[in-house]
């Protein structure tokens, strides 16, 4: 093996006096994939930014050397460093939605990257070739499109094309798939691997998903609190984790089949019943703002949730999961019938009675957005009590404190503001708030998707605990099949606003009948380096649209019972 293409020695980064990354050393060899894993805030992103010479203002490199292809880049002036960026070392960022400039076409952004390093190149042709290389459909058209016209997966492909256009020696991918659906994640990971095989680029892949690590890595570095705690080849790490932290991390990974024994379906009255529920969003246009199109976000969906049951809704982004949650909590108008704990949810999306509000609570997808940043969290948690006129000031504060204990937060944090908490803590605050009124049903909309494994595990455990202690029912919304498999009693699979398969956990995972269900299950990365994924066709499909002109509607999918309550779309049963 030749020498390392990138070598980091004793890297220490700090903001003011506070060290953020300490004494980090590693080598990266050509053609190799190095994964950096670790929980949120452990310094993964800062490390990669340091490699790019793009540290945010305020964060300084205190010590250490970074050499790229034998050249010490820490000594380079900004002008020389700029020439290396994109050319020798490139990076893909975590957020595909915001990492492309919204006002420039894809073509412009690709071409300028190429031109800035090679002014003589036939940049448009090279850009087109790069788009073809990432297997984007209709590359010519994409060149002329703007980022907002592409889906998240497509944008991430563009980012990859941009990074690889100049065939850099090192590619840093900082959580390239965290924000994407499982199926899209699958496509992107496949793509990265294929490209690496073709170009021989060395990849640093940053992730907290141990499944991704197992699938992609040659070697792994585990970081905690800015320090490297373990570094070893991937097989060894999974087989014999030497550090307690690594062991805990691996233990927290949800694995398919961990879900425990199936629960007998309770015969109790359902706590929630949806009958042929549809939700359309109007799209206005034309003179006087008439409605010309409708988004058929949810079409004729029916299901029940029994008391004490966890029902999961699964499907890719945009299939209407959140919309169902919103309809059930009376936030959007719907058609059909929604009944919760004996109350009918008024279909106007406005006038849900207070009594109903007490019974069902929604925990939002993004806890940062769901907490008013200008209120102390103690007040936010006590607010449901204020609204429903329960207790006095002192009692409410006591209740808030009790809820904080309940979700594992410290009472001393009651007077802090939301931004002073980590993502996982914020999610727990949201749960505490949802619990304040002792609801019968909690709707958790992607409540754990944005959290890293260890925090995710803690939140999931909390939910399970509450269920057994308080007898709450859950509507659990997710696209992560592994998580769903772990916690659900029954599962509904949604596609383009309609239910395509529904059944108990055993039925869905043991006997998936709809091709889409199978695709979802197959896409899940397996946290086992030894697992060999059966070859599958590489896909780069465009997602069909749920927008229809007024007067037209998607064809209705009928579900048929193939036994024991296992419902599958008619005709797809194969």
């Amino acid at each position: 093996m030749t020498g390392p293409v990138l070598s980091v020695q004793g890297l220490t980064l700090a903001a003011g006096a506070q060290p953020l990354v300490e004494d980090l050393s590693f080598d990266l060899f050509p053609g190799e994939t190095l994964c950096i894993a670790g929980e949120s805030g452990s310094g993964k992103s800062l490390t990669s930014l340091a490699l790019m010479g793009l540290l945010p203002p305020g964060v300084k490199r205190r010590a250490g050397k970074i050499s790229l292809a034998g050249q010490d880049v820490t000594a380079l002036p900004e002008r020389r460093m700029r020439r290396l960026r994109g050319d020798s070392i490139a990076m893909i960022f975590q957020e595909p939605m915001t990492s492309l400039n919204p006002v420039l076409t894809i073509g412009t952004q690709l071409v300028e990257a190429i031109r800035s390093h090679d002014p003589d190149a036939d940049a448009p042709a090279a850009a087109l070739a790069a788009l073809r290389a990432v297997r984007l459909s209709q590359p010519d058209r994409r060149m002329r499109q703007y980022p907002h016209e592409l889906s998240g997966g497509m944008r991430q492909r563009v980012m990859i094309a941009m990074a690889l256009a100049l065939r850099p020696q090192v590619l840093i991918a900082d959580e390239p798939t965290t924000a994407l659906d499982v199926t899209v994640q699958r496509e992107v990971l496949d793509l990265l691997r294929d490209l690496q095989r073709e170009t021989g680029t060395a990849i640093i892949l940053i992730t907290h998903d141990m499944g991704v690590v197992a699938e992609m890595a040659d070697r792994v570095i585990v970081m905690q609190n800015g320090r490297m705690v373990e570094a070893s080849p991937v097989a060894e790490l999974f087989a014999r984790p030497s550090q307690p932290y690594t062991q805990a991390l691996l233990a927290a990974v949800p694995r398919m089949g961990d879900g425990g024994p199936p629960v007998a379906l309770p015969l109790a009255e359902p706590i929630a019943r949806l009958t042929e529920v549809s939700v359309n969003y109007d799209v206005q246009g034309g003179l006087l703002g008439r409605v010309t199109h409708r988004v058929h976000a949810v079409e004729q969906v029916s299901f029940d949730i029994a008391a004490g049951e966890t029902f999961s809704l699964v499907g890719e982004s945009g299939c209407g999961k959140s919309t169902i949650a919103r309809a059930m909590t009376g936030l959007v108008p719907h058609r059909g019938r929604i009944e919760i704990a004996g109350h009918l949810v008024p279909p106007d999306g406005q006038s849900a009675p207070r009594a109903l509000r007490r019974e069902v609570q929604l925990v939002f997808q993004d806890p940062a957005a769901a907490l008013n940043p200008r209120k102390p969290v103690g007040e936010l948690v006590a607010e449901p009590l204020v609204i429903h006129g329960i207790g006095d000031r002192v009692q409410r504060r006591a209740r808030a404190a009790e809820l904080f204990d309940r979700v594992g937060l410290s009472r001393s944090q009651l007077d802090r503001y939301p931004h002073e908490f980590s993502g996982g803590q914020r999610q727990r605050i949201c749960i505490a708030r949802a619990l304040a009124l002792n609801p019968k049903l909690i709707i958790a909309d992607e409540s754990v998707s944005a959290l890293d494994v260890s925090v995710q595990a803690r939140v999931l455990a909390l939910l399970a605990e509450l269920k057994s202690e308080l007898g709450v029912s859950y509507l659990f919304i997710s696209h992560d099949m592994a998580v769903v498999e772990n916690i659900s009693d029954r599962i509904g699979i949604m596609y383009l606003g309609q239910m395509v398969e529904m059944g108990t956990r055993a039925q869905i995972f043991g006997n998936p009948r709809h091709p889409y269900t199978r695709r979802l299950i197959d896409a899940v990365p397996i946290p086992d380096p030894a697992y060999v994924r059966p070859p599958a066709p590489r896909m780069a499909s465009d997602v069909p649209s749920p927008v229809w002109p007024v007067g037209q509607a998607p064809e209705r999918i009928r579900l048929e019972d193939i036994g024991a309550g296992h419902l599958v779309a008619a005709g797809a049963n194969g």
């Binding site: 805990a248 919103r326 909590t329 009376g330 936030l331 849900a352 207070r354 509000r357 007490r358 069902v360 609570q361 929604l362 939002f364 997808q365 993004d366 957005a369 769901a370 907490l371 008013n372 940043p373 200008r374 209120k375 102390p376 607010e383 449901p384 609204i387 429903h388 504060r397 006591a398 404190a401 904080f404 204990d405 594992g408 937060l409 410290s410 009472r411 001393s412 009651l414 007077d415 503001y417 931004h419 949201c430 708030r433 009124l437 595990a457 803690r458 455990a461 909390l462 605990e465």
Partner: protein
Amino acid sequence: MTSPLTPAAGTTVTAAPPERGVLARLLRRPLALLGIVLIVLVVAGAVGAPWLTSYPPDQQNFDGLTLEGAPMPPGGPWLMGTDLLGRDLWSRLLYGARTSLMIGVLANGIAVALGTAVGLTAGWVRGWTGTILMRLTDLMMAFPALLLAICLAAVFRPSLWIVALVIALVNWVQTARVIYTETTGLAERDFVAAERTLGASGARILWHHILPHLVPTIIVWATLGISTTVLLEATLSYLGVGVQPPTPSWGNIIFENQTYFQSAPWLVFIPGAAILILALAFNLVGDALRDVLDPTQRGAR
């Protein structure tokens, strides 16, 4: 797997940390302190005018004009010179502060409050009420403010209160527009939806959850409006529909004397500086207040 979930939790509810008052936090910032001092000085000058001046503001002093009828420059008995009628500018400035504070702070405050109320309502209620309010705002926006002010003031016969009211009626529009846009944005945010799922009333959401987010915008418009309204009042005075002479206001001192900017510069630049300082002071305080009221900024400096 439950063990890591319940880390040692505090056993008692700790009392709220000694949350220092907004004022105390403001006072810790040098620029805000400067602003507050300036405002206090202006207010003190306005209130204490009778004790701080040697001449009544309206007194046309015989020795306040040269034999050719020119005003006296600053110096001697005239701290800041005299105006074209031989009146003591210092005295007129202090008494004028009363008018200008009322216009710049009160009238402008009412305008911003009105604009906020309209923008907030329209942004929240939508439907017919919202549409009507916003079309009304568009209408007002397309309507030259000066003309409206002139007509209203002429119809109701000028007086300080009428002028203040007119300015308030004219100046709410931009605020309403901006607040409307922000409110519609905020209404889409998840934390508002979260409140609705809890059953919070519209009033509660508006007051506790939306309004606090509008504070920075409100502060910007309130501080920016100070100088513009003070000058609008001056324009109205100039057209004979403002505060009537001999009542002084900073704006009308400038307007009466603007052509003298070469021969008697103190008559233009001293009140001009006064307006600037007042506006600057409010702006400094406003800037600081915006930061102090925003918990996400706390400790950021």
